[in-house]
Point group: C2
Chain length 282, copies 2
Amino acid sequence: MFMTESVKIFCGDARNELKKITDESIDLIVTSPPYADQRKFSYGGVSPDKYVEWFMPVAAELRRVLKPTGTFVLNIKEKVQNGERHVYVLELILEMRKSGWLWTEEFIWHKKNCYPGKWPNRFRDAWERLLQFNKSRKFNMYQEEVMEPMGNWAKSRLKNLSETDKIRDPSKAGSGFGKNISHWLGREMSYPTNVLHLATECGNKNHSAAFPPALPRWFVRLFTRPGDVVLDPFMGSGTTLDVALELDRIAVGIDVNEDYCRAVMEKLSSRNVGLFASARML
Amino acid sequence: MFMTESVKIFCGDARNELKKITDESIDLIVTSPPYADQRKFSYGGVSPDKYVEWFMPVAAELRRVLKPTGTFVLNIKEKVQNGERHVYVLELILEMRKSGWLWTEEFIWHKKNCYPGKWPNRFRDAWERLLQFNKSRKFNMYQEEVMEPMGNWAKSRLKNLSETDKIRDPSKAGSGFGKNISHWLGREMSYPTNVLHLATECGNKNHSAAFPPALPRWFVRLFTRPGDVVLDPFMGSGTTLDVALELDRIAVGIDVNEDYCRAVMEKLSSRNVGLFASARML
DNA sequence: GTTCCGCATGAATCGATAG
DNA sequence: ACTATCGATTCATGCGGAA
């Protein structure tokens, strides 16, 4: 049996660890960096006012390691400060463009079951930004991989289904964005839009997963082929890496937290693939 | 019978006509200005690169006429140029903050039926921004007015929903927009989120509206009381004014296009309320 | 009266063609 | 090379006519 090195984990600060990665060797970057003033426990917290300054060196390294045909997907949402939405995400987009990134698209992640709560001056926040950046206007995109079952087709077929089937909870349907009943019905599909409907997964209490697996899975399928290389420079609980391996991609992860690194190594080792980890962890 | 003057229409350029409106006399501004390079026929088109420069004088006047407790809701979406999302909307937010506006919130309008099309490098655009700006951190907000029925309600009303909703997103189907909320009193209600699901109304009108009535209706209910004053400085087909009158608010509209002004006057006059129009129209 | 089916209609975007 | 115009692509919705 021939086994390639399918996982690499670097344990350390992304700004340093990224330097160990070869130029133009990554096909897709999907990450959810520590939000400003969030996750203080594991990352030390970055103040909103210095967020751009903190992130730009990372963005520069990410641009270096990304292939010209590659894509960078950044999951982020600005926090509320003094009753206002902070503008560091807007400023970050402008700065990244100035440094050469193309801001190709902004997807919306609609969180179907968002965090509960009530405030006198605002409603619950049920969406996050998924910013797509590229190095070039010609990038790889495999749209057929994320097609969804189509409305009209459902119309003609639904008549023969029972009421319970119609209102069946789509979250039980497994992969995809909660609408994938294409397995048991026809094959008429349509292309998705730039709004992604996806429930957050709240059951996991060990590690606070930044996003549910279906989110990176969608982008891995859309922007890479099997054998391509997927990087998450703030891997956290390793959702992106896990999904990449599941789809036969090569996974590279970075995290400053050693406990996270070890936990991810342990989880991924069960996938029985070649695994490399930085010296600090061993 | 006591009849007040319930509608005012100014026919002319917003930058000039706004000067005729008294300081701090408006409770809510809801508008969808002509997007960059769009609607050239009726508005002459504004180039993306000059959009901020064009809009800022309007924003300044809007800030002057708004009450300290009032709210400004701006519906806008950046266009694609050279394969990138243009950044004029981001720059506009930053500029408005510099001029004193508070950027309180960004709502997402999810357009369930967005424009069709297929391209090698992007999906269909299915959302627009609804930017909430305020003059002060203390503004009027009546959250109970936009509560939605939850849970089994959707189930019992499934037969009235589109087949696409059933198959794709049964849990969120029919979020209650445009429904008579009082009709559902007694059911379990919940507060909405900052994501609004709403289809555009395309075919059925003579003059196509920028947004469906349910959109301004939601904000009028949320941010004003009966008798308050609602302004749309780019009224177009007058959807905002119509909805404001329907809810017993006072409506003020501005549009540079005389045909639109006349059509709105005609439509609103059937509501049998006091009506004022600028001299140019008479 | 219902339900069903066909049809027109969009704040779009890309690539090719023309000046 | 750089801008302006045009055709092709595509799908949820509501309307009207038909069964």
